[in-house]
């Protein structure tokens, strides 16, 4: 990861390029610095909806032909929207990487927002939301986030509130697109079996002439210090077992405590790396797995931290074993947090987590896709680190650092606790599974 060629074009587009010669493929990504973080009240979900619209065609690539074009060339493509960014990518046989760059340049500027297509997509997105609503864990997450943040837009779900999805207009979408989709608000990433210099020239040729665009509106909201614990108890039908979610306020990406928090996360549930959607490899020797799953209280438990532009949340989540109450899960988690406050992590445990981190860094090299995702994410959240330097920082974390960040951030005052309790399901009053 040392060999990243980073440049900024005269129109403000940040470009990151890395060669990778394991397979004859290449990937091209555009990251826009826009997501639910940038959405005012009443417009939640608009970034994600714009993402959907970028698959609906341009005059040069009319609706339907975009996907065909990628298929025909043996590529795959997709996109995703998060709180801090909206991301588009193609993975192609390397000889077709130019098609991906041209396509992204075209839809950055020329996407058609046809009113009929907008109307059809409204119901598709509501269906996407309703699919998520079938899971009680989704509702609980919305409740916990909305409670943990009272001022900052991180309180809003990326998919948007249903009322907003019914109200957003074609012109709202088009304005959002025009406001945020331009080179000075974007990052281009290419990783593949190519010559970095030639790829840099290609990107310059295709994306260099695109006008830079105006500076985007600043996100001014600042979350005030949390003054006391917040709680929500969600009772509704639809689930068979209790769920626990806990969230603690932690700093933004780039804060010097991040490496220690990642180690803390590793101690609790295994080191996971920082690339979006990356799971860890193990974690069954971690403290929470031992206490909750081996302890017969939960069927699964996890923790996590998504590096973010603004201060964010460290989350803990657990699914109760049938018959176990949410309060029992919470008590077990609290015991493990108290241990982190009171006792230093032991040397072997710390070494295990660091070894997991080093291994994760090597696994990142398997395939162009995840390398590109890592490069783009660090840049998109203004993290002045490379994955390589981050691993070095993680290896430098001491037991005292872990205790300090545990005491600083995993405190009652900074947390929000959510319980989901099943209601009216066939499991009401069901006997506990005895072990």
């Amino acid at each position: 990861m040392h060999d990243v060629h980073a440049t900024t074009l005269s129109n403000g587009l940040k470009v990151l390029i890395q060669e990778s010669h394991a397979a004859p493929v290449a990937t091209f990504w555009v990251w826009y610095r826009v997501g639910s973080r940038n959405e005012p009240s009443g417009y939640t979900g608009i970034s994600h909806w714009v993402e959907h619209m970028l698959f609906k065609g341009t005059p040069a690539h009319p609706s339907g032909t975009l996907t065909r074009l990628i298929d025909r060339l043996g590529g795959r493509w997709n996109a995703f929207t998060w709180k801090d960014y909206t991301v588009y990518f193609e993975v192609m046989p390397v000889e077709h990487i130019g098609v991906a760059v041209r396509l992204e340049a075209d839809r950055m500027q020329n996407t058609v927002f046809d009113p009929e297509v907008v109307a059809g997509e409204r119901t598709v997105i509501i269906s996407e939301r309703e699919g998520a609503e079938n899971y009680p864990a989704y509702y609980l997450r919305e409740e916990v986030e909305a409670l943990a943040f009272k001022a900052h837009p991180y309180r809003q779900p990326v998919i948007g509130w249903k009322g907003d999805l019914r109200a957003i207009t074609r012109d709202d979408l088009y304005r959002h697109y025009r406001t945020y989709y331009h080179p000075s608000n974007a990052i281009a990433v290419a990783v593949g079996d190519f010559d970095a210099g030639q790829t840099a020239a290609l990107i310059e040729e295709v994306l260099g002439p695109v006008p830079p665009g105006d500076p985007v509106p600043a996100v001014r909201a600042e979350e005030p210090e949390q003054e006391g614990e917040r709680r929500v108890v969600l009772r509704r039908p639809g689930g068979a077992t209790a769920l626990l979610q806990m969230a603690f306020h932690v700093p933004r990406a780039g804060h010097p405590d991040l490496p220690a928090l990642l180690v803390l996360d590793g101690i609790l549930s295994g080191f996971k790396g920082v690339v979006p959607f990356d799971g860890g490899t193990g974690g069954r020797s971690s403290r929470l797995y031992r206490a909750l799953v081996d302890g017969g209280l939960a069927t699964e438990v996890g923790t996590g931290l998504t590096p973010s532009i603004d201060p964010t949340l460290f989350r803990i989540g657990a699914t109760a074993r049938s018959g176990v109450e949410a309060g029992a899960l919470e008590a077990a988690v609290n015991r493990e947090i108290a241990r982190l406050h009171d006792e230093p992590a032991d040397t072997a445990e710390l070494a295990r987590v660091k070894r997991q981190a080093q291994a994760q860094f090597v696994y990142l090299r398997d395939g162009v896709f995840r390398r590109a995702m890592a490069l783009g994410m660090f840049e998109a959240v203004d993290w002045q680190e490379t994955p390589h330097n981050l691993i070095e920082s993680v290896v430098g974390v001491s037991a005292a650092d872990v205790t300090r960040v545990a005491r600083t951030y995993l405190s009652d005052r900074r947390r929000t606790v959510g319980h989901y309790l099943p209601e009216d399901g066939p499991e009401d009053g069901a006997p506990e599974v005895v072990s």
Partner: protein, 422 residues
């Protein structure tokens, strides 16, 4: 263009105990990926649905050499990952480690498959996890529609008709000895293959596999038991499950498909690609999602395995749109059956399948998984090299004939969602 997997790059060895080992080097990755299978899934459940799943789920919870927690600690200490999962047909395992730790990962994998100890306390813990999971899934619309579909589409006793979660009563009644007996009888090296892809010398990797898996005692011949042949129903078998607290209805519509080794496989696979996958989920996605805006997902899938797994269309829609979505799905099937694909569509499907090989096989894990399938279905190590020719050799007529096998007069239709109004 070079093929992403060439026969000459793969070292295939059959150990004296019958286990097959495939190694494909991938220099400079710094890591190894392993993937493999044992043909010991729910096909051997017989009248105890959940037995194979319970057995496989307990394999990592303790061996003759290490306790479950010790094994977890040893793997975590080297940053390695190992997972074992039970499917209806096979037990599948996969893992990864730094290349220096390849031996440790292979040792742990062999131990888990060959020498599990099924400790009482771990069996009870896994029982609780599986029963919880079955109960959670019984209130999940996607799981419920699939479960009901399987029951409707397959004859009693067919493993694809089983509840993939297992029956709660069976899970509650199995003893550690039942799991030991299932393991001893069905997890045998003759029914297993291990694939290693990564930054290792092929001969050394083969030696490592021989050293770790060589201890697994041979059991003798292996055969898939016979099952009643699935038949398409004579009419539409429709069943709706009402689940409380849901917003969306999920539906599964279809029938049994074909086995992966069926000579018509490629024609049916191409037909399915056109029907519900290519581009934004094929003809079905184009109608249900793109034109009518009714669903976030609407696609078809062909689960061709050792046996004829399902060939189904799945979609999630607002309950008020159910009948319209079902009509759109059957309309698209009938249209494709009547007129066949356009020349453009067919050309796109072929170029996609062949052209995307490089992209589909760009990671060690992707290559390992594909090699395991090549071994499971006896496709030959030159399969990927022959693939363009295979796909080019499927005629338009064969594809049209294949799509006509989807029975529009008699199929299973399972729906799970909220109470509908009116």
């Amino acid at each position: 263009m070079n093929s992403p997997i060439a026969a000459g790059q793969v070292k295939r060895t059959v150990l004296p105990n019958g286990l097959t080992c495939l190694v494909r080097p991938s220099p400079d990755s710094g890591a190894v990926a392993i993937h493999g299978f044992v043909k010991a899934g729910a096909i051997f459940d017989r009248d105890r649905p959940g037995l194979a799943r319970f057995t496989a789920s307990t394999l990592m919870r303790g061996t003759a050499r290490r306790s479950g927690p010790q094994l977890a600690e040893d793997l975590d200490a080297i940053g390695a990952g190992l997972a074992v999962a039970s499917g209806l047909e096979t037990v599948v395992f996969s893992g990864r480690a730094l290349s220096d730790d390849a031996a440790a990962l292979l040792d742990a994998t062999a131990e888990v498959l060959a020498e599990p100890s099924f400790p009482d306390d771990e069996v009870e813990r896994v029982r609780g996890e599986l029963i919880t999971s079955a109960r959670v899934n019984s209130l999940d619309t996607r799981h419920t529609s699939e479960r009901v579909f399987r029951r409707l589409a397959y004859p009693a006793g067919h493993p694809h008709g089983h509840n993939p979660d297992g029956d709660e009563a069976v899970l509650a009644s199995l003893t550690p000895d039942d799991l030991r007996a299932f393991h001893a009888e069905h997890l045998r090296p003759e029914a297993a293959a291990v694939v290693v892809v990564g930054d290792v010398d092929p001969s050394r990797a083969t030696d490592l596999v021989a050293a770790s898996f060589g201890r697994w005692p041979a059991r003798g011949g292996w055969a898939i038991p016979g099952f009643p042949a699935p038949r398409a129903p004579s009419g539409i078998l429709r069943e709706e499950s009402v689940l409380p607290g849901k917003s969306q209805a999920d539906l599964v519509l279809g029938t049994h498909g074909i086995a992966r080794t069926d000579p018509d496989y490629y024609a049916v696979m191409l037909a399915n690609l056109l029907l519900g996958q290519l581009g934004m989920m094929g003809r079905i996605g184009e109608n249900v999602r793109e034109r009518q805006g009714m669903a976030y997902y609407a696609y078809s899938d062909l689960r061709a395995g050792l046996l004829a797994g399902p060939w189904w269309v799945r979609a999630g829609v607002h309950p008020s749109n159910l009948e319209r979505a079902i009509a759109a799905i059957t309309h698209e099937i009938e249209l494709l059956q009547r007129d066949g694909p356009t020349d453009d569509e067919l050309a796109d499907a072929r170029t996609y399948l062949v052209g995307s090989l490089a992209v589909r096989l760009e990671t060690n894990q992707g290559i390992a998984q594909t090699l395991a399938d090549i071994e499971l279905f006896a496709l030959g190590l030159d399969y990927i090299e022959r693939y363009p020719e295979i796909i080019g050799g499927v005629s338009r007529e064969a594809i049209v004939e294949a799509i006509r096998r989807f029975p529009t007069e008699g199929y299973a239709l399972a729906i799970a969602g909220p109470q509908r109004e009116g």
